[in-house]
Subunit: 117 residues, 2 copies
DNA sequence: AATTTATTTCCATTATTCTAGACATATGGA
DNA sequence: TCCATATGTCTAGAATAATGGAAATAAATT
């Protein structure tokens, strides 16, 4: 991930409807939610919501799959992890943060010094 | 930090010149850099750079101080840490991430499960 | 006081984004 | 097939943002 990759991701999250939809999908977990449930939950007209869900999907930060006549959206966690790592990267170069992988726990561990982030 | 707070922060970083300037300032560390050095380093006209630095400062993600006839900009790390915590927050609610403070090390530790972020 | 240097403000132009009505498509049920 | 449901596309207007030239402010130097 570099600056060019990160800009469209930040742009995607820089809109209230999209950010709320994304957070809703993260809370919904890997099964995701159908488009209609998202527009209902957020009180956004379906065509407007479709525009924003399309934006999120094009950015790769959510995935979609078709089930019957519904389109189910779900959060793509990997890209978020990459974005977080990108944000911390600069802090690492300043020596005030570290990112490492704990294979035993099966997780990424980010340590942010109080001095820095 | 909630959705309303996060949107303008993402918006601030969703612009290549601003994101590059911000990363430059993070690398520069707490002393920061004068406005002119930033526009020179990025090859951006000084007035355009001033517009973007003003945007970053208004968002609170950088601070500025005057020194002689220079204005020195420096990264505000706290807000970035808050933003990262906000991004991980949803993952926590899904039980696949934790954020804790390690007082002994003087740092925040974020653990992101491979399953999630 | 006049000059140079550093930065910001003003302004107009251009480009992009958001919004939602109207219409289109696609699936499943009667 | 006909109809209701679920979602997406088309479209145009309104709003917002980015750009850079020109002028303005502010501080140090002569």
């Amino acid at each position: 991930m570099d600056t060019r990759d990160a800009v469209p991701l930040f742009d995607t999250l820089a809109q209230e409807t999209r950010l709320r939809a994304f957070r809703l999908l993260v809370k919904a977990g890997p099964e995701g939610l159908p488009a209609g449930a998202i527009s209902d939950a957020l009180g956004i007209p379906h065509n407007t919501m479709s525009f924003h869900l399309g934006h999120l999907a094009r950015a790769g930060i959510v995935a979609s799959r078709k089930e019957g006549r519904s389109v189910i959206y779900s959060a793509s966690f990997e890209l978020v992890r990459d974005l977080i790592a990108f944000m911390v990267e600069d802090c690492c170069s300043a020596g005030v943060a570290t990112v490492r992988t704990d294979k035993r726990k099966g997780c990424s561990v980010i340590e942010l010094s109080d001095f820095c982030c």
